[in-house]
C-alpha cells in the first residue's frame, strides 16, 4: 500500500492519481472519507476528494 507524499491519497501506483506527486510505502494510519462535503474530519485534514488517505507518510 502506497500513499502520496503530498496529499496522502492511498494508491497502488508509484505516482499519485490526484496530484501526480511521488508515493511512499512508509504509511501510518487510515482515514476513509466517504462524504467530504459533510465531514468535519475531512475539512480539518484538508481533504475534498472522496477516498482513502493515510494520516502520515514518510
Amino acid at each position: 500500500m502506497n500513499a502520496c507524499l503530498r496529499c496522502k491519497y492511498i494508491t497502488k501506483e508509484d505516482t499519485c492519481p490526484i496530484c501526480g506527486f511521488d508515493t511512499s510505502d512508509n504509511v501510518r494510519g487510515l482515514l476513509i472519507v466517504l462524504d467530504p462535503h459533510n465531514s468535519e474530519v475531512a475539512k480539518k485534514a484538508g481533504i475534498d476528494i472522496k477516498g482513502k488517505y493515510a494520516l502520515s507518510v514518510k
Binding site: G29, L31, S39, K52, L55
Partner: protein
C-alpha cells in the same frame, strides 16, 4: 458527530475498510472512518447521527461494541496531524537505541538532521566517543537536555 467503536486489536484497518464499503453499499449517512495505530482496538466513525452508526455496526461481527458518548473534531487534532518525533529531539538529549547493532545502548545526541530524519549520536558507555548516525526510528528519548 464522531463515535468510537471497539474492534479486535490489530484489525482496525480491515474493519474500517469493511465498514466503509458497507456504508457505501447501503447508502448510510457515514461521513468518514478513521483507524490509527495510536488508538489500538478502536476506530472512530463520523456519522450524521447515532442511528446511522447503529445501522452500520448492526450485524457486523467484527465490531465488539460502541463506546457511549461522542467526541468532537477538536479532540482529534493530535491524531490528524501527527507531530514527528524529530521535532522533539534536540542536541544534547539522551536517547536509547531500540534497534540496530547498538540496541539497548544509551547515547547523547550531537547533531539532528531534520530533512533526512537522521540523528548523530555518541554512545555514553563507549571508552572512545565515536559518532554514529542512525535513523530516527531507531531511538527513543530518555531525557531532555535541561
Amino acid at each position: 458527530m464522531i463515535f468510537a467503536v471497539r474492534t479486535t486489536t490489530g484489525q482496525e484497518k480491515n474493519v474500517a475498510e469493511s465498514l466503509a464499503s458497507r456504508a457505501e453499499k447501503e447508502n448510510l449517512e457515514v461521513f468518514s472512518i478513521l483507524a490509527t495505530e495510536d488508538l489500538k482496538g478502536y476506530i472512530l466513525i463520523e456519522a450524521a447521527n447515532k442511528g446511522a452508526l447503529d445501522e452500520l455496526v448492526r450485524k457486523s461481527f467484527k465490531v465488539k461494541g460502541i463506546v457511549p458518548g461522542e467526541t468532537s473534531v477538536n479532540e482529534l487534532d493530535h491524531l490528524l496531524t501527527p507531530t514527528k518525533i524529530i521535532e522533539h529531539i534536540d542536541k544534547g538529549d539522551v536517547v536509547e537505541l531500540v534497534g540496530g547493532p547498538f540496541k539497548g545502548e544509551r547515547a547523547r545526541v550531537t547533531r539532528v538532521d531534520k530533512h533526512k530524519e537522521e540523528i548523530t549520536l555518541e554512545l555514553i558507555d563507549a571508552a572512545v566517543p565515536i559518532p554514529i548516525t542512525v535513523g530516527i526510528e531507531q531511538v527513543k528519548i530518555i531525557s531532555k537536555q535541561d
